[in-house]
Amino acid sequence: MRIYIPTINDTVKDFQALFSLQQLIDQSLNVEFDFSHCSSLKPHAIALIGGLARSVEKRGGTVHFEWKTCENRVLHHLIRNEFVRAFGSDIQTQAYDSIPYREHTLKDKASIMEYLKKYWLGRGWVGVSPLLKSKILGNVWEIYENAFGHSHSPIGVISCGQYYRSSGKLQLAVTDLGMGIAQNVQNYFSAQIARILGGPILGNYSSIDDEGALEWAFTEGMSTRQGAAAGLGLKLLKEFIRVNGGQLQVFSNHAYVEIDKNGEQYHRQEESIKGTIVNISLQCDNRYYCLAVEKL
């Protein structure tokens, strides 16, 4: 099947277009990616396309990227962020403003933290104190921990990002193709209800919709993990995004949340993603950010 990749930016409509592609690719064993309809790709799109390609290979299928259909601008972008290299073309170049495409197949904290420190927050694009940086990294790690711990993603977790010099925006996308946050919460609720009732639940019982499940997962103190687990509260990251004027978007199953200075909005989406995309967008201004305790 030939898949025409469209131009993908970061509006909700762009995400929906991306998730439509996932449904097509999930039905195919032989996929050719054609970029002739694409003039720009954001990091979340690149991460998801890479993940979908790997999932085809995992199913025993074949994938072919038609690089010659790429506009020069798109091709240079895919070379610089090492996406082209990940899919077999041995082209080496400097990263410039890219946060390279990486497939984390194992929960290797050392390599993931090195990646985040070196390529994302370690390049001076956002002025943060060492202490604030460590707190942000701790929160972002929770996203990886959640993806590895709960999603059962067949392709692991994929990261990719970009610094947009002209708009002063820094983006980082983290993607997995597991069951999705909402589905995981719903499974947990069903298991707990079955436990309370003393037996399995008959029929397709869903006690909470996808938006509610996503909101539950992002409430501090809520976790499907046993023991004293705090869940994906991401309190510090949310607060930093509010102060910085950035945005955090999370798409999972039929739900998505947008977190910014205006608050936290949970929505239902028509197209479903089997998995999760986390998209962190920060403003690179001239300000220096630190924790309140550091000002004392």
Binding site: K109, A110, W141, I196, S207, G212, M222
Partner: protein
Amino acid sequence: MRVNVMVTEPRMAHEAVCIYDLIGPDCITFEDGKKIYEIIHPELKQGSTVVLDFAGVEVLATPFANTAIGNLLEDMTLCQVQNGLSFVNLSSDFGPMIDLVIENASQYFSDPSIRDIVSQSLKECG
């Protein structure tokens, strides 16, 4: 409920559990938290005191802190943990995180209505 992390003066090196030596600069995973829990839990249960030395730790995340410290509250009282466990070389913002971890864990393990979070949430969801 409010609890306060006890930060003590550094003791003799051999008395402290050096987190950096055991885990490294990034204390972030459940697995690493479990390593620390398995070292300190038997000591605290026996009534010994344990000093956790955070020198060199750069990143502290809640999956680690919940497993290493929060889970102590499963079979120990808040008083036992507070009296037995102390911290040195804890950077200024890690203290509040550990406070919160202990507070959440104390509520989670001591209050059945909070422990059964799902039942509570189901009620809220109607």
